[in-house]
């Protein structure tokens, strides 16, 4: 029974995820491909090469990476103390705090974007990198906090207490004990933040006002252009970094997750 469920889901998800990616590949390198031919009838690398040489593409790539990295760093910086408090302590108003953190994930991003846009226009942050990064924090922070507070709810402060009575200072404990214990969780949280920021289209468009050209912006304008080959080529470039990061970290996470979990 259970095996069947898994198999059905694999097929369902492979179909819905992997198939389109294969299509990207096929389209990106195809010159001619008409229905009902199962594969392109003529191949080319022109489009991909041209795209990679376009300065708009490379600058978009770097801006996207820069924003996503800054956003995930800031998310961790703000999210860590909040998650620790939420995960470890019980205090009055804890439920309210949760609801407040919960809100940005369930209030539709479009509404958030519209609101922020009006607000940032007044504050003069529209069209600035600063504004875009701040806006990206709205959807990323809740995920960072959720992920980390999950880690902290299974976290045992007594490890820190041991280090303390063994003579460590609070600062030393933070770096030699706390960070090492929650490291896999930190990586997951950073990954989440990176990916959410990476794929932001709406907030970047609304707050950036077309001046901050990230990859998703370029991709969208390519979609309006309507050339399936360049859409597919850009899509590939857009999908590659997340897939590489996930693939690279998956093994680490599974391994280290297990080592740490054994101790709990």
């Amino acid at each position: 029974m259970k095996n069947l469920t898994i198999v059905i889901f694999r097929i369902f998800l492979y179909g819905i995820l992997i198939a389109p990616m294969v299509l990207f590949m096929l389209y990106a390198f195809s010159e001619r491909w008409f229905f009902p031919a199962p594969l392109p009838t003529s191949w080319t690398t022109n489009i991909v090469t041209r795209m990679l040489n376009d300065p708009r593409t490379t600058s978009g790539l770097f801006i996207s990476i820069g924003i996503a990295m800054l956003v995930s760093f800031l998310s961790l910086l703000i999210g860590f103390p909040a998650a620790r408090t939420l995960g470890l302590r019980t205090f009055r108003g804890r439920q309210i705090a949760w609801l407040i953190f919960f809100l940005p994930t369930v209030v539709p991003p479009l509404a958030v974007g519209m609101g922020l846009n009006i607000l940032f226009l007044r504050l003069g942050w529209s069209g600035t990198l600063f504004g875009v990064i701040l806006a990206h924090l709205v959807p990323t922070l809740p995920y960072t906090i959720f992920t980390l507070s999950g880690v902290f709810s299974r976290y045992d402060e007594n490890y820190e207490h041991q280090a303390l009575v063994l003579g460590s200072s609070r600062l030393r404990i933070f770096f030699t004990v706390t960070l090492r214990l929650v490291f896999p969780g930190l990586i997951v949280a950073a990954l989440f933040a990176f990916l959410i920021s990476w794929s932001q289209y709406l907030l970047t468009l609304l707050i950036g006002g077309g001046k901050i050209l990230t990859l998703p912006m370029l991709l969208f304008s390519a979609v309006s252009g309507g050339n399936p080959t360049s859409i597919a080529a850009l899509s590939l470039l857009f999908v590659a970094p997340p897939v590489i990061i996930i693939a690279a970290s998956a093994r680490f996470l599974v391994q280290h997750g297990n080592t740490i979990r054994e101790q709990y």
């Binding site: 045992d156 007594n158 490890y159 207490h161 041991q162 280090a163 303390l164 009575v165 063994l166 003579g167 460590s168 200072s169 030393r172 004990v177 090492r180 214990l181 080592t259 740490i260 054994e262 101790q263």
Partner: protein, 347 residues
């Protein structure tokens, strides 16, 4: 060799009305092992947390050799806490775990290596230094945690039920090991436990904590055979109490007269107690017997436990094997040896 004094400690946790420690005072001599025994919520663990500095008392003082340690930071007190779980750092191997404290102090690697080796021999696990904590059994982990504490030559060790999650055989072995090492190094130690046997076997003195205060403190043997109050008597397994008027060595209870050995000259009401293993059951009446009905009789291996109802009083007697199995409902005489009845105060 440090003497620890707890002076009038008071502690109430936020959100609670009842203080968990209520003007508790206790003195632990230098090199002594004192066991703290008490029901859950009696503040046993709180005392250890106050001494290490993980919590602060609302009132009162904690003195090491006469000097207050309350202004000293937790990491400078030299009081090391051990828990039920070993809390070995999972990302360090055994050697690094044991050397953790020395590394913090900035000792050089050579010294650390030598000291770790000494410690591993002391705790009887010489061959494990490269292992990860997850590769060790629960008992081995606790030994390593012990070594990690001892390597710092602490002024005091505070053990918070360190053996309660271990199997019987491992537990007994570790009880012996901890006791041996503690005496060898003369470290002033406080052991929190809920296991009467463990407290009796390991401690120089055992303190009973009830309602945030020390209800009784004495050598285990004295505390076990002559607990001073009714509540402390219950805690060391006494369940039979007689209330009555005492005159000329005879206690007149609601159930009959009982001779007792006493030097006091009460005319007023007195409370006497007796341990279950000192009560005997027999078929014939005699002096100091009371008639009752057997309501239960359970074979427990080394002894048989009889439950006898003497009118409204339920008495549990433990008679070592060989002893007869008595059917339910049988009439029986319960003998209370006068020299085994002892007076307790009604608290």
């Amino acid at each position: 060799m440090t003497k620890i004094e707890l002076v009038e400690l008071k502690k109430t946790y936020p959100g609670s009305h009842q203080p968990v420690l209520n003007h508790l005072s206790l003195e632990i001599h230098s090199g002594e092992l004192v066991a703290l025994l008490g029901p859950s919520g009696s503040g046993k663990s709180t005392i250890l947390k106050l001494i290490t500095g993980l919590e602060s008392p609302d009132e009162g003082q904690i003195l090491f050799d006469g000097k207050s340690i309350l202004p000293v930071a937790p990491n400078k007190r030299g009081a090391i806490l051990m828990f039920q779980k070993a809390y070995l750092f999972p990302f360090l191997n055994v050697e690094e775990n044991i050397g953790f404290g020395l590394k913090v102090q900035g000792a050089n690697p050579e010294t650390i290596r030598a000291e770790v080796k000494k410690m591993l021999n002391l705790i009887g696990l010489p061959g494990v230094k490269k292992r990860k904590p997850s590769q060790l059994s629960g008992g081995e982990q606790q030994r390593i945690a012990l070594a990690r504490a001892l390597i710092l030559q602490p002024k005091s060790m505070l053990l918070d039920e360190p053996l309660s999650s271990l199997d019987t055989e491992v537990r007994v072995n570790l009880q012996e090991a901890i006791r041996r090492i503690q005496q060898e190094l003369g470290i002033t130690t406080i052991l929190v436990t809920h296991d009467l046997n463990e407290a009796m076997g390991m401690s120089d003195r055992t303190a009973l904590l009830i309602n945030g205060q020390v209800a009784a403190i004495d050598q285990p043997m004295k505390l076990f055979t002559k607990p001073p109050t009714q509540s402390s008597a219950r805690f060391v397994g006494v369940s039979t109490f007689f209330k009555g008027n005492l005159a000329n060595g005879v206690l007149t209870t609601d159930f009959g007269k009982l001779s007792v050995n006493t030097n006091g000259h009460h005319a007023e009401s007195a409370l006497f107690a007796i341990r279950p293993e000192h009560i005997r059951v027999q078929t014939e009446p005699e002096i100091n017997t009371l008639q009752g009905v057997v309501t239960d009789c359970m074979y427990r291996g080394e002894y048989i436990e009889y439950q006898v109802e003497i009118q409204s009083l339920t008495v549990r007697a433990r008679v070592p094997m060989p002893a007869p199995v008595i059917p339910h409902g049988e009439n029986i005489y319960v003998y209370f040896p006068p020299e085994k009845l002892f007076e307790v105060s009604q608290q």
